[in-house]
Symmetry: C2
Subunit: 191 residues, 2 copies
């Protein structure tokens, strides 16, 4: 997931920050916590990042881009299959990468106005892609969703909230959650 981040120390710092932010929240995490988790001194944070907020922004940006990519070129021979695949992948992503997903979904408010605007744009893309998949099914007469935006909101909401309750020690694997959710959504929308 962080494989493109270089050099090595910068990547370790980002991973440490993501874990700390997910665990305790952005404001409760100190730069000393992050440095310590990465096995470096408090000052080392500022060699690779301008500020603690910059660290948050990098995590948020990369996380949003990845969750957006999950909804790109979703395979499927018809809208029903495409929606199932989209929901299954998107829900599974929020379980599999629940650490990053929590930062992505719950620390938006700690971003600077400029950085916040950047990720809001990415979020618009995510909503747009899910909406167009649902819209295809509605146009083909396969889905019954009189309130298209409301249905899109509910589907995204269901998947996103997985990041809140998911526990790796729980009895459901990310794959099982994806399959369960794809089935629930199919029943929710099919006419």
């Amino acid at each position: 997931m962080w494989r493109h981040v270089t050099p090595d120390a910068a990547r370790r710092m980002l991973i440490a920050a993501a874990h700390a932010f997910a665990d305790k929240g952005y404001h409760a995490t100190t730069t000393r916590d992050i440095a310590s988790l990465a096995g470096m001194s408090p000052a080392a944070v500022y060699i690779h990042y301008r500020s603690k907020e910059d660290l948050l922004f990098q995590i948020s940006k990369i996380g949003h881009e990845l969750s957006l990519s999950v909804l790109s070129d979703v395979p499927g021979k018809d809208p029903v299959e495409r929606l199932s695949n989209a929901v299954s992948s998107f829900a599974r992503w929020h379980a599999e990468y629940h650490t990053t997903a929590r930062v992505v979904q719950y620390e938006l408010g700690a971003l600077s106005p400029e950085h916040h605007a950047t990720v809001v744009e990415l979020r618009r893309g995510i909503e747009g892609r899910m909406r167009s998949i649902i819209a295809e099914g509605v146009e083909a007469g396969l889905f019954d969703a009189p309130d298209l935006r409301g249905a899109t909101l509910a589907v995204l909401s269901l998947c996103i909230d997985v990041a809140r309750w998911y526990q790796p020690t729980g009895k459901r694997t990310p794959e099982q959650i994806g399959a369960l959710y794809a089935d629930l959504v199919r029943r929710m929308l099919m006419s």
Copy 2:
């Protein structure tokens, strides 16, 4: 919602804290913010509460108790109607009281271990009530939910996440959200 809290200054402080915690998060909120919102001096917080965390606990406890009460004695002539009423009320509560609901759902981690244990107990009650309503429908052969706990989790999750995305300036009223969600859940579970 806070009508039982007395004296007046203590109630104003609790309301101020709930708004600040929901808006910026617990850790980003200072006791000066809270006092200032309540129109009092920074020291006044400690006349009515032992600490900032105590303020959070009171909000969390009252909020959990209220959202639990919403799932008590849900009316309905059959399991289908009872589930619709439960989902509609529970989702509506998370929209109507989204300020408190955000504190309830997203600031659990800032509670002391003892206080955290108390609200976890209340949360078990919430899950139990929703699960028994769904179980009634399964036993009557009306719902198709092979994974009862998984279905309960998904239904609660859908309603809870309303607190994250709901905006009073949006075009859907809490009542409309409740009705939309009751319908989605009914389709999700009915056999």
